[in-house]
Structures are given as C-alpha cells and as structure tokens.
C-alpha cells in the first residue's frame, strides 16, 4: 500500500483533476443549431431525484404565487405571458410567469417550469426583441433540463471528491504522510469545475434562446445587445462612484464572462440570421404594453441612488429618441444626487422635459420650482399652474394652490 500511495503520486493525480476543472473555463461556442429541446409539452419527471426536486419547487412556487411583490396588472402580466408563449419552444404552454416588482436586472427559471421576471428587466429593455431574448434564454434552461443536469453533476463531483478525500486521508494515514493540502487542492478543483459546468449550461441557454427568438422572427442581435447594455451599465455605475467596475465575473461566477458571452452571441446571431427571414424588434408593441408602468419603473430605478447606472439606463433608452419622461427622470437623477452643480443640471433637464408634449405633470412642478429659484417668478407661476391643471388631485396640489394665491 505504501508503495502505491506516495504523496507525489497523489499530488500529481489531484493536479490533473484540477486542470480538468480549469480547462472547462474556456468553452467553445455552442451553435444554436445544435440545441434541441430535451423535453416536450406536458413533461413530468420520472426519475426519483427529479421528482424530489419538483416537489420541493412546487412549494417554492406556492410561496411566490402568494407573494405581495407580484405585479397585479393583468394587462402587463398577460403581455409577458403571451410573449413567453411565442418564444418558449415546445413546452411554452406549460410555462408560468411571475412578474415581481423588484428594480433589478434579473429573471430566473425553476426546474418545474415557472419563471420569475423582475420589473427591473422591463425598465431596461428597448424593445420586445430584447425582452424576448431574456425570456427565451430562461426557457432554454427549462427545455434543456439544466436544473436536474446541474444537480446530478454536483452530486457526482461531490461524491468523487469525498471518496478521494477519504482515500487520501486513510491512505495517507497508513503511509504516514499528511495529505490535507492535496485534499484542499482537489476540493478547489471540484468547485472550479462545478462553476464551469454551470457556465456551460448558461452558454447552452444562450444558444437555445437565440434559436427560439429567431424562429419566432425576432432579431437575434437583440441578445448580444442586452449583454452589451449590462456591461456598460455596470461600468457607468462604477465610474460615477469612482470605483473599479465589478464585472460580476470571476473564476467563481456562474455565468460566462459577459464579454466572451457577447462575442459568442454575436457569432451565433450571424449564424441564425443567415437562415431566417424577416426580423422584428417589436418596439411599438413593447412600449404600448409597458406604457402605464414605465414612469413607475424609472422612478424605482432613480431612487436606488445609483446615478451612474440610472443615467446609463435612461440614455440607452433614449437611443430610440428622447421624450419628456426620459428627460424628466434624467433631471431627477441629478436632483437626487445633489452634489455641487447638480441643481443646475436638474433645472436644465426639467426645462428640456417640459418642451416635450408627453412631459409628466411632475416635470412641470419641478421646472416651476427650478425657475422660481432662479428668480423667474412669472415663468414659475405658469409652470406650477400647468402642474395643477395636469394633476389637480396630487397630494401636494393644495399646498401649491395656497402658495400661488399669496
């Protein structure tokens, strides 16, 4: 036994295990054409481990379905639901969508087929094609059975690790050497390869998602665009806080590095574009669906006190044209930051906002206060009166009426 189990041999063995894990980090691009759904409509698990997983998630879904964070507007939720049916692939009818009022960029898919979409996602999307891309990516996780595949991989690797660790301990004990370091090295290798497997699944979901949206005649370039936006937002946020950007990517991140992910997505987009016909962006449809909520979504965002990100989001949406709402919230970002010179920036923003026919009532109010501060009393009076005319029942209306009468 002592001859066979030398410290060097074991270290060498673990070293290889680690390399195998690390090698997974640089994955090759997965072609969208290679992605076939692994389940069909009405899928139910037949194996014990997956049945157990489903049962646990049924309770989770029950909790989410009863959450008071869910958006109650039927028109908006059914819009997202119908979009999901278009890009959800063969199991689209089985998918359940929960729209949660959380101002963050996120969406996740449960193994049982329910999806949670955060309102922060709707804040950031420029058109229906972008939103379809994110939803199709999540549907891809379900169609490719990623949850159970990820779990089985985790279980297999942790089994192997504990056998190796135990073998090293008992074997090392018999050989009279301490192998704790080697075991820790192997642990590291296992953890790394777990995350790389997870990144592989994310890349699969990207490829599956691209295929789904191009089949539904959406512009596949919307998907790399969304990633580009996220990278730029994170950078803009850090720049304004004078911090180094936290790219949400490290060796341990579960998602592929945004930059490499984007490169892969662009290449794959070209691949599917060549094969498909006309592509839609669905901007008007998207704007109509979120019209009643957009100001609330932007309001949530600017109140997060992340001026860099908020300005980036607003400017990104304004690539499709500025309007009163976007100008107003741009000004709000400056007002809420409140550093030297921000009051002037805000004042300019309110002035710009009220030049648009769709300026929200609050833009008139804040414009009124800004010009009042600058000593232009008549202009202020006109703007505040305009506010009262647009929002006669606002909570601060009586106060403003009183001060105008003085």
């Amino acid at each position: 036994m002592t001859d066979l189990l030398t410290r060097r041999a074991l270290l060498g063995g673990f070293g290889c295990a680690c390399c195998a894990g690390l090698a997974g980090v640089a994955e090759a691009r997965i072609s969208p054409h290679a992605m076939k759904p692994l389940i069909t409509s009405g899928y139910r698990p037949t194996e014990k481990d997956e049945q157990g997983l489903w049962q646990q998630y049924e309770r989770v879904e029950h909790e989410i379905a009863g959450s008071n964070l869910l958006v109650q507007d039927k028109a908006l939720t059914s819009y997202v639901g119908e979009l999901t049916e278009r890009v959800g692939g063969p199991a689209a009818k089985d998918l359940r969508i929960y729209l949660a009022h959380i101002p963050e960029f996120n969406a996740f898919m449960a193994p049982t087929g329910f999806m949670v979409v955060f309102t922060g996602l709707l804040t950031r999307m420029r058109d229906e094609a972008q939103l379809a891309g994110v939803i199709a990516h999540e549907a891809g996780h379900f169609l490719r059975r990623h949850h159970i595949r990820g779990w089985r991989d985790l279980r297999r690797k942790s089994d192997v690790l504990s056998i190796l660790a135990m073998g090293a301990g008992v074997g090392g004990g018999a050989a009279g050497v301490y192998l704790g370091d080697a075991v820790r090295l192997a642990e590291m290798g296992t953890i790394l390869s777990l995350f790389s497997y997870s990144r592989e699944l994310e890349a699969e979901a990207d490829a599956m998602g691209l295929k789904l949206i191009s089949e539904a005649a959406y512009d596949p370039l919307a998907m790399p665009e969304t990633w580009q936006q996220l990278i730029e937002e994170v950078e803009a946020s850090a720049r304004m806080r004078k911090k180094r950007p936290h790219r949400g990517y490290s060796l341990f991140a579960t998602h592929p590095a945004p930059a490499s992910r984007m490169t892969d997505l662009r290449a794959s987009s070209r691949e599917v574009t060549a094969a498909s016909g006309p592509q839609a962006r669905g901007r008007d449809r998207f704007l109509k669906a979120i019209a009643a909520h957009r100001s609330g979504f932007l309001d949530d965002q600017v109140k997060l006190n992340d001026p860099g990100a908020s300005l980036y989001i607003i400017e990104n949406l304004a690539k499709d044209g500025w309007n009163g709402l976007l100008r107003f919230y741009e000004a709000e970002v400056w007002r809420l930051r409140g550093e030297k010179g921000d009051d002037l920036r805000a004042a300019q923003g309110y002035a710009a906002a009220v030049a648009y026919p769709d300026a929200p009532p609050e833009a008139w109010r804040n414009h009124g206060y800004a010009v009042q501060k600058a000593g232009r009393r008549e202009e202020a009076k006109a703007a505040l009166s305009r506010y009262l005319a647009l929002a006669p029942k606002a909570t601060d209306a009586p106060m403003i009426r009183f001060s105008l009468a003085q």
Partner: protein, 247 residues
C-alpha cells in the same frame, strides 16, 4: 486489524451516532392545552430525502408524501389523546371565510418572528429584555384568524428527515476505520430536524416553541412518525410562572 473487529466497529459507529435533543421555550404563563380545545396546523412543511456519498441532501417525493401523511396522522392522534381536535390546513384557501392573503401574511409574519426566536433564544444573541420564557406575538392578525376559523391554537410545523445512501454508509465506515491509521474522519449520516411553534389565537402570542434534532428515527414508518411527534410535542412544559405557583 481483524475482520471481525472492523465489522464490530463499523456497526458501533452507526449505532452510537444516535443522539436526540430537544430544546423548548414557553411563555411564562403557558399552560399546555388540555381538554376540549382545537388546533389548526398551518401548511405543514415536510421534507424527506437521502444523503449522497458526498453529503448532499436529495429530496424524495415518495418518501416525503408518505412521511407527511404519517406525521399528520400521528399528530392528530396525539392531540386527540389530550382532548384536542386537529385540523390540517393544506392550502392557504382551505378555510371558508378566510382570505388566502390573510393566511399568507400570517405565515410570513410567523416566519420573521420564528427566525427572531431562533436567533435570540437558540443561536445565542440573547436580549436582556427577553430573558424569561418567550415573549413574542403575531398580534391582531392572528386573533382575527382565530375568530374567523373558530380555532384556539395554530401550530406551525417543519420537519426534515434524511437517510444515508449506500455510498454514504460506506463513507461512514471508512471514516471510522481510518482512526486506526491516524486519520479519524467522522462522517455525518442521516438526521432529523424539526421545529414546532404554537400560537394562542385568543391573544396572538407565540406561547411555545420547540426544536428537535436527532440522529435516529425514521418518519417514513407510522411508528417513526409517532416517535417524532412525541419527541417534538409530547413533553410540553408549562410556563415558569405556572410551575412556580404549583410548587
């Protein structure tokens, strides 16, 4: 090492792993329900599964369903023995005249309150103002729920039981065998964790709270379930003031 002693040792390790502990806290004025009372069990959460070779918990749907049924039957039997009438609330809309939103609110509130009890009573972050017994309440919502359901007590119940897979048992044996060559690695096997929290629906107060941890038992069998219910709820102690007055 002889083969026989190895087997003996392995057997001993599996048998000796069994320790059972409960720790209950009661409201100082709590009297365990007796006689003609009613109890509603709020969507009991039961999870049963296996422990993989690497030590991960994996839920098993069939074991869970079977154990859940066993536990609830055992609970109803035990309460009936004290004179109590038990009703199981399977879903949030199970009681007519009670809005599911009220139930959801109550559950969320209990979740927060229960976490705070665990933090300040079990984890060790003691509060100087909450030394004696437990002094937490779910307030008016619970009283309203009691009035609407006509129930005296609400019980929140969570139970998890797990069993070592064949691979895990092998790891346990190996871990102990390693002791002979200077490498002791005790490996955890299956275990039970459960908690129960009793709310008096007349006052809304959490009057009794218990946490059970055990390395033995099997809730998949009716006997094992009865045993867990007995360990968790069977030895309800009266509150401190009541006990002092009795002495």
């Amino acid at each position: 090492m002889g083969r026989r002693s190895f087997l003996l040792l392995a057997g001993a390790s599996l048998a000796l792993g069994g320790c059972v502990s409960t720790r209950q806290y009661t409201d100082v004025e709590f009297e365990p329900p007796q006689g003609n009372y009613s109890l509603i069990v709020m969507r009991p959460d039961v999870q049963v599964g296996s422990i993989s070779t690497g030590g991960l918990f994996e839920a098993r749907a069939d074991w869970t369903e079977q154990s859940r049924a066993n536990l609830l039957r055992a609970l109803a039997d035990q309460q009936a023995g004290r004179g109590g009438r038990t009703r199981i609330m399977e879903t949030r809309d199970a009681v007519k005249g009670v809005a599911p939103e009220l139930v959801a609110d109550l559950e969320r509130l209990h979740n927060a309150v229960g976490n705070s009890i665990v933090l300040h009573k079990y984890v060790g972050a003691r509060l100087p103002t909450k030394r004696r017994g437990i002094d937490w309440t779910l307030g008016e919502d619970a009283v309203r729920f009691g009035r609407a359901t006509g129930m005296d007590y609400a019980l929140f119940l969570y139970a998890q039981d797990s069993f070592a897979s064949t691979g895990r048992v092998a790891m346990q044996v190996l871990g102990l065998a390693g002791c002979f060559v200077g490498f002791c690695a005790p490996v955890g096997g299956g275990s039970q964790t459960a908690f129960a929290s009793l709310v008096d629906l007349k006052t809304g107060d959490v009057v009794w709270f218990n946490v059970l941890q055990s390395q033995q038992g099997d809730v998949r069998t009716p006997e094992g379930s009865a045993q867990m219910v007995e360990r968790l709820l069977g030895r309800m102690r009266a509150g401190r003031n009541i006990r002092e007055r009795q002495q």
